[in-house]
């Protein structure tokens, strides 16, 4: 942890993440108004004392909506990444440990999936499954799986031929024991780093899907959906697009910077290289 905080990137990332998590945990209680409540007299207004960040097209308080949408948005990013990383790592470890023909077949299939741009692939899945938060989460997870599998496999491969693994094999340990006690603990670093950075992608893809009307549905306060709903009113009140947009950017940046710092911490050579 000290190594993370030794770089400015790490500090910025950690602070941003702390803020984001605090908002995600307590936001709904901090909100000054009901996020769905109309203030018909104060539609599309800029920041004022009454509405600190202004109001949207229905006269709903933007601050309350952003605070209320934080858990949905952040949980979406974490959930999609966790699922994608979990499944991806299992596939990667199986491929890496098994080697040979199994490895070849799995990797060629994953290569095929990787050939498709991430966002397009997600869109394809969501179009197939239909819109909605659950479907969008699943789609992002599926999209992340091949990339994570590759990272996990390469990480396992680099560890597999180390002396301590060979020693375990020579000792006659069972295969499962070798995988879980010798290989995985030493291969997990890159996976965690990759996962942290991917959370920001997941949040951004989730927001994109919400923006395209394929993720969360109105009257949800998901940030991407907020941008999309307010887009028509951009010329009349730029705040209602800027605020949720900024929130997405800050969260994504937080995860990204933290992930970067984490990678440097795991790999001291690169941080000074």
């Amino acid at each position: 942890m000290r190594r993370i905080l030794s770089s400015p990137n790490g500090i910025a990332g950690s602070v941003l993440l702390l803020i984001v998590f605090a908002i995600a945990l307590f936001g709904p209680w901090l909100a000054p108004y009901d996020p769905q409540l109309f203030h018909a007299q104060n539609r599309l207004e800029g920041p004022s004392l009454q509405h600190l960040l202004g109001t949207d097209q229905y006269g709903r308080d933007l601050l309350s909506r952003v605070l209320n949408g934080a858990p949905t948005t952040v949980l979406f990013g974490l959930g999609a990444t966790a699922l994608g990383v979990g499944v991806g790592s299992i596939i990667g470890v199986i491929a890496g440990v098994a080697g040979g023909r199994t490895d070849g077949v799995i990797m060629r299939i994953l290569d095929g999936m990787l050939a498709m741009p991430e966002l397009l692939f997600t869109l394809l899945i969501v179009t197939f499954l239909g819109g909605g938060t659950g479907q969008a989460l699943l789609a992002v997870a599926v999209t992340f799986t091949p990339g994570m599998a590759r990272v996990a496999r390469s990480s396992v491969l680099s560890v597999r031929t180390r002396e301590y693994v060979l020693a375990a094999v020579a000792r006659g340990e069972s295969r499962a024991w070798i995988v879980f006690r010798e290989v995985l603990p030493n291969a997990i670093g890159p996976i965690i780093v990759e996962a942290t950075i991917r959370v920001s992608f997941a949040i951004m893809i989730g927001a994109t899907l919400g923006f395209l009307g394929l993720g969360a549905q109105p009257p949800s306060t998901e940030w991407g959906l907020m941008v999309s709903e307010a887009r028509q009113f951009m010329f009349r009140n730029p705040w209602c697009v800027a605020i949720p947009g900024l929130a997405i950017a800050m969260t994504a940046m937080g995860f990204n910077l933290f992930g970067d710092a984490l990678r440097d911490a795991f790999d001291p050579k690169r941080s000074h290289g």
């Binding site: 769905q36 409540l37 109309f38 018909a40 539609r43 097209q57 229905y58 006269g59 239909g130 819109g131 909605g132 009307g213 549905q217 109105p218 009257p219 709903e229 028509q232 009113f233 010329f235 009349r236």
Partner: protein
Amino acid sequence: MSYFTLTRRHVLMGLAATTALPNVTFAQSADPVPGGTLKISHSTRIATLNPLTLSGPAEYPCIDMLYSRLTRIGLDSQPHPDLAESWDASEDATEFTYHLREGVTFHDGSPLTADDVVATYEAILNPDIAASATSVLDMIESVEAVDDLTVRFTLSAPFADLPFSTAHANACIISRAALEGDLTALETQVNGTGPFKLETYDSARIVRLVKNEDYFVPGKPYLDAVEMMLFPDLAAETANFLSGTTDVMLTVQQADYERIAGSAGIDALRVPSGRYVNIVMRQDAEPWNDVRVRQALAKAVDRQLLVDIILEGLGRPAYDSIVAPEIQFATEKPVIEYDPEGARALLAEAGYPDGIDLTLVASDRPAIRSQTAIALQQTAAAAGFNLEIETMPHDTYLANVWMQGPFYIGYWGMQPTIDATYNLLLTSNASYEDSAWKNEEFDALIEAGRSTTDEAERARIYAEAQAMELADVPYIVPFFEDVLTASSTGTNAWEVAPISRYYYIENVWLEG
């Protein structure tokens, strides 16, 4: 506004056809200047030009320019002569004779005769051919050509509104030769009698039409050409229109209307129309089988707030009748005030003293459905209706909820007549009957209304039918949406009918 629109000209007396103009012309400050190319921007694809089936918002203006119908709906929402110079009906409204214009030719030069009209209507009525106009014309038993310029329709049941039906946007007259050939050719090729001929058809980019020199109204059209330009992105469309690249913006969004109308050199046009959102409350199950619950929800809708917020004020509050004020025989509807207290009392009376929890379904397209749901949730909360909103993809909605679910948001376009309006949704055998109201007395009234040609009698019958609708509240209709369009100030006579399928572009002319 009068209670009955008795003063309007009798529909069936379309003999006032001495002027050749199919619609009302209005005072112009200057004489029309011929020439020029009108560029119309639109945001939806022109996927087909098949006049029998098309239904796209940008496709209607195309067939309105390329084809003609026997009759055409004017700006006053009444049928006017188009290819038929005049028509007359038998007293019992079972036999109609249409007299065609002389000397009309198709774009390929062949003359239009009664035989082409017969062929068109036989195609529309042919169950093997998909045609959108079938539903308003299915009472036709036979069509015959009396001579080259006279067509006689014999109906299986009395139907006084036939001149409205022959003006149906999809009842375009097509030549017999085209109908007997390959019908898929209609999708991309046009041989009509309209004021413009098709030059280029590129559904992904542009549709270009050129002047028909032999159009049957002398001196028209004024324009040399019309270009329908597709802009899939709304922001790009608006920017191009405001910068003067295009002359007409076919559809303006409510959110942009004020900005566009306020720009220099732009004339924005706002046409009161009968497009509406209706809240469906299926009456064959709890709680909607109790009229008091429906009345309570009606009182729990702040109609003016909905008009202000959802339509940006570009519409009119409606009071639970699907019949728009523009439609002939529409009665004035009493105002329903927003009264959450009264609604709460009615709910309590109906057995829900502590309020009621309900799930309201809204499809995600167009956005107005979910917007209405969100606003309704807010205004109805004060009356004890705790609504949970379920927004779902349109396809899922169509498959699982539409015409089945107990409580959802519908969205409908304006119909030309009161008969068509009610037969679409509210009579027991209506095409999209989804309220489970099924009132035999009401059905009998609608049946009686179509069987007489006596105006006063029809006004009385339809007034009674509308009173029944108001008393039973089969739907909640919160507002009627205006049709919004805009043109540059150099574009003259750009008009849209309230039922936005007729555009009269042959009258449009460009300055300098």
